[in-house]
């Protein structure tokens, strides 16, 4: 028996949602959570050439109001998008068009576990691309204490469902 999976027009397995499925107000809770590690912060920070003491200098961080190293928030926002991919856009997004209103209401520390939910803020057909639509998501990320640590609006160019073949 073959498990029937969702596929695109070329037969590739997809797990995201098509434009038609992304209706305004839809909320998706993402299954994969992730504990942020020291490795994540050190690698991301050094990879992006950010020498800020807040991310790399534990002795300095001890003396700040946080008392410990802050995880680089640019990593946080990248993680938030990444965690949203499996149920939302895997195989169904053509391109990310932009981000707006990115905020970090609470800090992320090494050892925090992040979960993400996404809401469809708006969805409209593309005027120039008949097989695609433009969808605005709001991603919301919480830590294990249920504190909101990152919120972002993100616009994607999303494929419509293939006209024939398996949905």
């Amino acid at each position: 028996m073959v498990f029937q999976q969702k596929r695109d027009a070329e037969g590739r397995v997809v797990s995201g949602l098509w434009f038609e499925e992304l209706t305004e107000g839809l909320v998706v809770e993402h299954a994969i959570r992730r504990t942020v590690t020291e490795t994540d912060n050190v690698m991301f920070t050094t990879m992006t050439m950010n020498p800020a003491a807040a991310h790399l200098d534990a002795d300095y961080a001890k003396g700040t109001e946080f008392g410990q190293v802050l995880v680089n928030s640019m990593f946080t926002v990248a993680l938030v998008v990444g965690l949203s991919v499996p149920e939302l856009t895997h195989g169904t997004i053509l391109a990310q068009l932009g981000m707006d209103d990115v905020t970090f209401p609470k800090p992320v520390f090494v050892g925090d576990t992040i979960r993400v939910e996404s809401e469809v803020v708006s969805a409209r057909a593309s005027k120039s691309r008949p097989t695609q639509g433009i969808v605005v998501f709001e991603h919301r990320a919480h830590n294990q204490r249920d504190e909101l640590v990152c919120q972002a609006r993100r616009t994607g160019l999303i494929r419509r469902a293939p006209s024939q073949g398996a949905s």
């Binding site: 020291e38 490795t39 050190v42 690698m43 534990a58 002795d59 300095y60 190293v69």
Partner: protein, 147 residues
């Protein structure tokens, strides 16, 4: 450290770098990149049983490399890393140490081609101001361009 052309460098000039904390990530990645997997750097149990150190220590090469990354080498003046003399790891650097570099110009030697070799006392210290790595560093430094 090298922030000006040769013309403005004097014996006795000093500098202090920014700082960075040595993490477990750094040791693991350094072992991966270099292939130096000696257990004193990568095996917690082996290192705990070592009577001298009692814990994992950073590779000496990591410490000097981090030191080189912490100091400023202003590209227009810094022409070449010429070498290190009497490099000594005077005490181990461990995970959690925050290191910085302090330098002092020991010698400025002009060359006929217009550039010069500057010798620096190069000291990597931890956050308790304890020297961990000491060396004399030589750099080829450019003279101020004409005009």
């Amino acid at each position: 450290m090298i922030t000006t052309y040769l013309d403005d460098i004097r014996v006795g000039d000093t500098s202090v770098s920014r700082a960075r904390t040595i993490t477990e990530t750094d040791l693991v990645q350094f072992a991966m990149i270099t292939g130096d997997w000696h257990p004193i750097h990568t095996d917690k149990e082996y290192a705990a049983a070592d009577p001298r150190f009692g814990q994992r220590i950073a590779h000496g090469a990591l410490v000097i490399s981090f030191g080189l990354g912490l100091v400023e080498f202003w590209p227009p003046a810094m022409k070449a890393f010429y070498g290190l003399d009497t490099l000594r790891f005077v005490a181990p650097t461990v995970i959690g140490d925050t290191v910085r570099v302090e330098t002092e110009v020991l010698d400025v030697a002009a060359r006929p081609d217009g550039d010069g070799v500057v010798t620096y006392r190069f000291v990597v210290l931890n956050h308790r101001d304890e020297p961990r790595c000491v060396a004399d560093l030589k750099a080829l430094v450019a003279r101020k361009p004409e005009g």
